[in-house]
Symmetry: C2
């Protein structure tokens, strides 16, 4: 799997960039350091000017890769969900037992992420922190409907749909497979956020992880 991923380029909707950042040193530098900087100062305070200073490049050069910071963030989140989708596909193929497949899938979308080292310019662990704190903001804008039509959220929906299929395999009669799948994926992000900032309204902690909560939940619901 390591080798496969390092040979495989994750493809992102080309409406999200002006120039493909994967094709140049500067582009990859923009990706790498935008992740670090957004994590450091938050997306609201993040600007192309600050990023330019960080990578000792110019604001105007960054604009040649991305129209604006929102599209850069959607690019990064698409990258993340592609990476998840890839690992999800890999972890669940050739698993014949539906319950076992579901467990593996739930684990993958709920567990803590660690950097996978195959992509030197993307630190998945930091990227995951950005997803936890910023992903829903990419959806919750006045432009969702247009951006959805443009396919900006296709990868995310594909991840959810894979989970929907697995849920249906486990219990074809359960009437809310879609809502359950989207609840697990988005809910896990939210629980991770609560764990870090509003600890009193979550059971997650260093010991107790999201995987257990969601595995228990889905098994009972689909039983």
């Amino acid at each position: 799997m390591q080798n496969l991923l390092s040979n495989l380029k994750i493809t992102i909707n080309d409406k999200l960039y002006v120039k493909d950042p994967e094709t140049s040193e500067l582009g990859r530098n923009i990706l790498k350091n935008s992740i670090i900087l957004i994590d450091e100062i938050g997306f609201e305070a993040f600007t192309f000017k600050k990023l330019g200073e960080k990578i000792q490049s110019n604001e105007s050069s960054i604009y040649r890769y991305f129209e604006n910071k929102h599209k850069l963030l959607v690019y990064l989140t698409s990258w993340y969900w592609s990476w998840i989708e890839y690992r999800l596909a890999f972890a669940t193929t050739n698993v014949s037992n539906p319950i076992e497949k579901l467990e593996k899938a739930i684990r993958l979308v709920t567990e803590n992420v660690v950097d996978d080292n195959t992509t030197p310019h993307i630190n998945e662990e930091i990227l995951n922190r950005i997803i936890v704190g910023e992903f829903t903001k990419t959806l919750m804008t006045k432009e969702v409907d247009n951006e959805n039509k443009e396919g900006f959220f296709l990868v995310y929906k594909r991840v959810i749909n894979r989970l929907i299929d697995i849920i249906k395999e486990v219990n074809p009669d359960y009437p809310y497979a879609k809502s359950l799948a989207s609840s697990v994926v988005e809910g896990a992000l939210h629980q991770h956020f609560l764990k870090n900032h509003l600890k009193t309204i979550t059971n997650l902690s260093e010991k107790e992880c999201a995987t257990e909560f969601y595995t228990d939940m889905t098994k009972k619901i689909l039983a």
Copy 2:
């Protein structure tokens, strides 16, 4: 209940405003029209200047009530959760059967909101739309921890805690009462958002409402 609520003033953390907007005509006008304007153009595009134009008042006058638009939004969301908490308390007291109590609570935090007419300057139905689209943004900032210490999110946490208590009444042995409660409340908002914008990954629709999904979920989990 109608009468009670109209006599009762919802109290908001006084660090959220410079001058209490409930104490003047202009203040109530700010509340009323900020809700309408945020719903119309979204929080990102919302500015005090635009609000001033809408209410034929001056930008500088609005700054006498709220330091910035973020605090205004946190004020509005606190108002909303206070209103929910009040109705939640009312709907669940004197209900002896825990399951019935849980059902009522779940209904209250998941169902579609309709304007309640007791507060002429707050349209709860529009406010609910703002909550669906903007609430998590008030949490997901670099200032969460400080603002949490200041008590900005106390009312929200109180709503969750009421639900936690009811969940525990139904099943004292269930180990994830906190995560379940926060999942239901935040998840319901998210499902409403999906219903309006990413319909393919939710089962909610005009017919099928969030209440059924979450009632079914919690009953199975706590059985």
